[in-house]
């Protein structure tokens, strides 16, 4: 490189600058530059969610929590903790969670940061005790697996009782049949 060229080389940045022009945009008046793959806030469809808690187990930062009370199970989503990994979407068995591209989450009401989905818990038909599952979970399981009428809607204790009764019946058997 000749001496003069070397001296004026740094000035070439002016060419670069004028060619590029302005790159900043007038956000929020202009659309920000987001790719179609962007992961933003999640939305849980309260009509689809069955309250199984799979998402709660998968969520790394505990943004999803299951709050249990006497007769309710509440799924709580706190966006302040969410890291937008969408693991919950991967694991939800019924596809109740949808990812959005929304990242503009600022609000002046902290309550906006929470979403609640309240589920009723199943009562045992035998003894009336509240079991772990939600009513929707029970329905979901019944649709997927064939559990005899006798067993559903019953708490584990009562189920055990029925089972033992049934076995003992079979063991001794009604009198007079074979053997």
């Amino acid at each position: 490189m000749s001496f003069v060229k070397k001296i004026i080389k740094p000035v070439e940045v002016l060419v670069v600058a004028s060619k590029t022009g302005r790159v900043t945009i007038k956000y929020p008046f202009e659309e920000p530059w987001i790719s179609p793959e962007f992961r933003g806030k999640i939305e849980i469809d309260p009509t689809k969610c069955i309250g199984c808690g799979a998402c709660v187990n998968a969520c790394p930062p505990n943004a999803l929590e299951m709050i249990e009370s006497e007769d309710k199970k509440t799924l709580r989503y706190f966006v302040g903790r969410c890291i937008f990994c969408w693991r919950c979407i991967d694991v939800c068995p019924v596809g109740a969670i949808k990812g959005t591209r929304n990242f503009e989450l600022a609000t002046n009401d902290p309550l906006d940061l929470y979403d609640y989905i309240v589920h009723n818990r199943v009562k045992c038909r035998e003894c009336g005790k509240v079991t772990g599952e939600t009513t929707r979970m029970l329905k979901y399981v019944l649709e997927k697996a064939f559990v005899t009428e006798n067993y559903n809607n019953k708490c584990p204790d009562c189920r055990k009782k029925i089972f033992i009764n049934a076995i003992s019946m079979r063991r001794t058997g009604p009198v007079g049949e074979k053997t």
Partner: protein, 545 residues
């Protein structure tokens, strides 16, 4: 292979000589020696076999076998082997000889084990590195009997800048003027010349290792690991996933490994561009800073397109990745790379022709090769001092064995060399992505079914933009039993003392920035004491360098 067998024999012989035993698993040689032979064995590995010292790991194995253990992690870069030197320590009054006289780079990790596990190291001056001054005595957070959410009541003490009459004291920090992270340097100056340095870091202790060993599951830790660093997070999550996969001997789909490598290189490009911008800014060449960051924006968009997020990509899982690269994304990536390369090359040529950039960077902050070797520095800092090491080539992981690339090495050891290493690496990274995109095999991207047996050991080095990340995992039930993380800056900060000494004060900010320090990663589990008195930095365990 004959040669390979000879090398392995060498390690087996070493362990036999030391009265220990050795076993080989994949690319890892496990050597267990009695503690009185530890120093001798470490010295032999480091000085004679020229293994690279990476880090040491203290573990509370009392629930498993009744002992504490310390594992020194070496890598044999020429033969692509990991060498783990382990010794058992009696649980009552745990004591083990220090290896810092033979391996100066072990200074910090030994003190970390002392603070967090209560293992005493004999034959060296101990000091408190990790825990705050008011921390209760005898409470060692990484011991298994301490719950992860236990918070002792401690009184905060405020720190004072040291005062001394001999030399002037210039505080830099507690926020780095360029990198916006918490750390604190005290420079002692005579006139314009820096005569010594004190580093006080570890303000951002987050207890990540403990959290990963207690509250989280294997898959969740991926996302936690990614948050160790805001710039090279994907290196950490890949390193963790690879370590677990190695421990469990999982056969991860090739396509997933390719995607990992591609995304790792995308991250390297954005990280180096970020650093170049910061370096130009520190040098007073803000035009360069603006333009480098402008072209970096393309890479951020690319990362978002490939993974779903600009940063903290969140696509790593044990067993593979979560996002595939389809034909459309592939074409888009190639397009972005082509434009980027053109713009980058033009820009960097202009930037390097600016007289003050070259003038201020050359000859300043020199790290001689011997010191770099002694302190086991990492990454571009090592490569600028003539140490030819790069885990991507030496200890191939993910899909790097399918790419051919050059490892730029400079011998000057000054700030300019560290700058040029990164400048060259950027071009290599772009070429690697192109090659891998071309060769990417078809197939699944995630292993659906697998099992992780308990009690296995996996260790992995991943070459992050700043140097080798090390993750060490002992598998446990549903989560890691022990998870040790070492970020490259952990090895590089001690070298700053050498670089800063006898240099004009005006060059200090550039020199500090030249190792591309990442303090939050370094601090992931650490805090340091300070008693207001002036104390010379004992970065090298009292060893004079």
């Amino acid at each position: 292979m004959e040669g390979e067998k000879l090398i392995l024999d060498k390690y087996i012989e070493l362990s036999r000589d030391m009265g220990g035993k050795a076993s080989i698993e994949g690319d890892t040689v496990h050597i267990i020696v009695p503690s009185e032979k530890l120093v001798e064995a470490a010295s032999k590995l480091f000085n004679e076999y020229q293994c690279d010292f990476r880090v040491c790991v203290g573990t509370d194995e009392r629930p498993l076998n009744g002992y504490f253990t310390i594992t020194h992690i070496f890598t044999d870069n020429r033969n692509g082997l990991y060498v783990l030197l382990k010794t058992y320590i009696e649980p009552q009054d745990p004591k083990v000889p220090s290896i810092t006289n033979a391996v100066p780079g072990a200074d910090w990790c030994e003190m970390e084990a002392r603070d967090l596990l209560g293992i005493e190291f004999t034959g060296r001056t101990p000091y408190r590195l990790v825990l705050p001054p008011e921390w209760p005595k005898g409470l060692h957070p990484l011991r298994k009997d301490v719950p992860y959410n236990y918070r002792p009541q401690i009184r905060g003490v405020s720190e004072k800048v040291s005062t001394t009459t001999e030399t002037g004291v210039i505080p830099i920090g507690p926020y780095h003027p360029a990198l916006h992270e918490p750390e604190y340097f005290e420079l002692y100056v005579e006139g314009e010349k820096v005569v010594d340095v004190k580093y006080r870091g570890f303000h951002v202790h987050r207890g990540i290792e403990k959290l990963g060993e207690t509250r989280m599951t294997y898959q969740q830790v991926n996302f936690l690991a990614e948050r160790i660093c805001g710039i090279c997070g994907f290196e950490h999550s890949s390193c963790y996933a690879l370590a677990v996969e190695k421990a469990a001997k999982l056969d991860v789909p090739e396509r997933a490994q390719f995607i990992r490598s591609i995304v790792l290189e995308v991250e390297r490009i954005h990280s180096h561009l970020l650093w170049l911008g910061v370096a130009f800014h520190v040098l007073g060449y803000d035009t360069g800073f603006m333009h480098v960051w402008r072209i970096r924006e393309r890479v951020m968009y690319l990362a978002e397109l490939l993974t779903g997020s600009r940063k903290t990509y969140g696509i790593n899982l044990i067993g593979g990745v979560r996002r595939d690269i389809n034909e459309e994304k592939k074409q888009k990536t190639l397009e972005v790379l082509r434009e980027l390369e053109k713009e980058y090359k033009g820009l960097i040529e202009v930037a390097l022709s600016v007289p003050q950039v070259r003038k201020r960077a050359s000859g300043t902050g020199v790290l001689p090769r011997e010191d770099a070797l002694k302190l086991s520095v990492e990454g571009p800092t090592a490569r600028a001092s003539g140490i030819d090491k790069d885990a991507r080539r030496d200890l191939p992981y993910a899909a790097y064995k399918y790419a051919s690339f050059r490892v730029p090495v400079y011998t000057e050891g000054d700030n300019l060399a560290r700058l040029l290493v990164r400048v060259d690496e950027l071009v290599e990274s772009m070429a690697i992505i192109e090659q891998l995109l071309d060769k990417i095999p078809k197939g699944p991207i995630l292993l659906e079914k697998y099992e992780i047996p308990e009690g296995r050991v996996g260790v992995q080095v991943v070459e992050a933009p700043r140097g080798g990340d090390v993750h060490f995992v002992i598998t446990g039930h549903g989560k890691p039993y022990r998870w040790r993380v070492r970020a490259p800056t952990y090895s590089n900060i001690p070298a700053l003392r050498v670089m800063l000494r006898d240099q004009p004060l005006a060059d200090a900010p550039l020199t500090i920035a030249s190792i591309d320090p990442c303090f939050s990663c370094t601090d992931r589990v650490l805090i340091v004491r300070e008693n207001g008195r002036r104390e010379w930095l004992r970065l090298t365990g009292g060893l004079k360098i």
